[in-house]
């Protein structure tokens, strides 16, 4: 397997989502290692701006404009457009597609896998090019994080979805070429209408890409307790996360939930307050670079895998910590 690597960029609010810049950086590295090429594809109603951003990271980007795309969900539109492009590209077309392991990225990856008949490896934490294997080698964490598997494709084509913050984004030396393409609206996939976008007042900042996450669990005790969690997040410039217990109790929205049935995150710092560290939560955050935990229970499971574990009452430690951070002049 060698040849072209395509990055399928992801758009949000007309611009490019940050993970696409990370993946583009990875694509360049893989292209260099494999002796192939890296390029990008951005699909949307008005993809020009996002394509321009992606071109800071890749030598070539195809901006595919699809009329009416803003009124539809992204997955079917993007998958169809990419599949059409690949069909039109003929031989030799791309052999490797890279997408973000995000809700939209997963959706597109799943559809493309079926449309193209290519295998897909998901939630990669690292991708390298192995000349002996003759293709990409993808590292993923499975079984709730208890095993790291390294896999590759058996055929000559493949799709990989990559977790946020697995790669540090680095712009390319120059600005790439953006080629505008008008899509053919082939009705292979049924479109889904986008009727409305609702922003909720209670929504917290997105945690998937946060560098610092301050999370609260059962020990927070109630929705009022999350004000304390939030105060520390603000002091550190981070996002607020939560365990399933807190979400199920209605103290904080589901979008903040980290764990087996919630999100998996890999921040630079995960600060756990009143969280026991049971396996169902651990799987969502155990690859964080640094884990600090505060819990009244000295025997909480999180004590075994945290880097720093403070035995104490979070409602005493957090205000003291916020004060200490402030007095540093942070």
């Amino acid at each position: 397997m060698s040849g072209a690597i395509w990055v399928v960029g992801e758009m949000a609010d007309g611009g490019l989502v940050r993970i696409s810049t990370e993946i583009a950086t990875l694509a360049r590295d893989l292209a260099a290692a494999s002796g192939g090429t890296a390029s990008g594809v951005v699909v949307g109603e008005a993809p020009g701006a996002a394509a321009g951003e992606l071109a800071d990271y890749l030598p070539a980007v195809r901006a595919v404009s699809v009329a009416g795309a803003d009124g539809r969900t992204a997955a079917a539109t993007t998958a169809m457009a990419v599949a059409d492009l690949i069909a039109a590209a003929g031989e030799p077309g791309p052999t490797l597609l890279l997408l973000g392991a995000t809700p939209d990225g997963r959706d597109v990856a799943g559809m493309l896998s079926a449309l193209l008949g290519w295998g897909v490896l998901v939630n990669a934490s690292a991708v390298t090019w192995d000349v002996t294997v003759g293709g990409p080698v993808v590292e993923m964490s499975t079984f709730g994080g208890r095993l790291i598997t390294t896999s590759t494709f058996t055929g000559s084509h493949g799709i990989v979805t990559i977790r946020p913050q697995s790669v540090t984004a680095e712009p390319a030396a120059g600005h790439g070429v953006v080629q505008s393409v008008a899509a053919s609206d082939s009705p292979v996939l049924r479109p889904v209408a986008l009727v409305d976008r609702v922003a909720e007042a209670s929504a917290e900042a997105p945690i998937e890409e946060a560098r610092i996450i301050v999370a609260g669990g059962r020990g927070v005790g109630g929705p009022e307790g999350f004000a304390t969690v939030r105060s520390l997040a603000v002091a550190l410039g981070g996002a607020v996360g939560a365990t399933r217990a807190a979400v199920d109790a209605g103290w904080i929205p589901y979008a903040t939930q980290i764990g087996q049935t919630g999100k998996t995150v890999k921040p630079a710092l995960y600060l756990a307050l009143g969280i026991s560290g049971a396996i169902q939560h651990k799987v969502g955050m155990q690859t964080a670079e640094t884990i600090v935990a505060v819990n009244r229970d000295p025997d909480a499971p999180i004590a075994e895998f945290a880097d720093l574990f403070v035995v104490g009452d979070l409602f005493e430690v957090v205000p003291a910590l916020v004060a200490a951070l402030r007095s540093r002049g942070t």
Binding site: D107, V188, R197, E304, F305, L325
Partner: protein, 264 residues
């Protein structure tokens, strides 16, 4: 209101997991449970059928032959019957093969809605439902926080980082459920006892049309599109530093720690 729920038995995350000598998931290594996210999909399906006052919820699984016991809990929750696709040739299937087989099985069923859980705890995939929808030409509505069918269409709240998008499509459609739909019910005692007599139909590959024309390519473990090269345990973290000091002292230690790690 006929709903098919894609259900995957997975190893219990609290048990011991293993990949076998052939580096495939050893599904006998620990007790299997229904994938946690699928239970949310099942709960949503049960509520929709109850609200409609008629219809049925059917479980569809592609799994080893030992799966029926694991499906009993889902039947005890209230699903009406199950369909299990099991075949030795399917052991070691990749996600693409799984999507093809499930699509072929769905072609033998009649439904208004297919529901699936957001992803599985053993492979953290989440791409199979999208593949199934693409193969069957079904509208695909993912990450649902709310599902509202009415008048031959379905409206879904798709969770977004800031709230949700309202999306809509005609039925039949495939919807991916999230936890925000509501806690799965505990099986009632009558449900548990009734589950024993509910039907689980078993299909092998011979019972399905898995021709290349029908599903776009070959199926089975022998033609898996991916393979595992190596398995290893994750890097062990260094020993935990434990701090048992009054709050101000502990706070100072945390600040110092974060500074050493260059986080602040």
């Amino acid at each position: 209101m006929r709903i098919v729920v894609l259900t995957k038995p997975v190893p219990d995350t609290t048990g011991a997991e293993r990949l076998g000598p052939d580096l495939r998931v050893d599904r006998t290594a620990s007790p299997a449970v229904v994938n946690a996210n699928d239970e949310y999909a099942l709960e949503a399906a049960l509520k929709l059928v109850e609200a409609a006052g008629e219809g049925e919820v059917v479980l569809l699984s592609m799994a080893p032959a030992s799966a029926p016991e694991t499906l009993r809990k889902a039947l005890a929750m209230g699903a009406h019957r199950g369909v299990l696709v099991t075949d030795p040739a399917l052991a070691g299937s990749c996600t693409l093969s799984t999507a093809r087989v499930l699509a072929a099985a769905l072609r033998t069923l009649e439904f208004d809605l297919v529901l699936a859980g957001a992803d599985t705890s053993d492979g953290t995939g989440g791409v199979v439902p999208a593949g199934v929808a693409a193969l069957l030409g079904l509208p695909y509505l993912s990450y649902a926080g709310r599902i509202e069918p009415s008048g031959g269409r379905v409206r879904v709240h798709r969770l977004s980082p800031v709230g949700y998008d309202v999306i809509e499509a005609p039925l039949p459609a495939l919807v991916v459920a999230t936890q925000a739909l509501g806690e799965p019910r505990y099986p009632s005692l009558k449900g548990i006892m009734g589950a024993r007599s509910k039907e689980i139909a078993t299909l092998s590959l011979a019972d399905l049309d898995v021709s290349v024309e029908a599903v776009g390519g070959a199926v089975g473990g022998a033609v898996a599109t991916t393979r595992v090269l190596e398995v290893r345990p994750p890097v062990v973290r260094a020993a935990t530093e434990i701090v048992r000091e009054p709050a101000p002292v502990a706070a100072a230690r945390i600040v110092e720690f974060l500074q050493t790690r260059k986080i602040i």
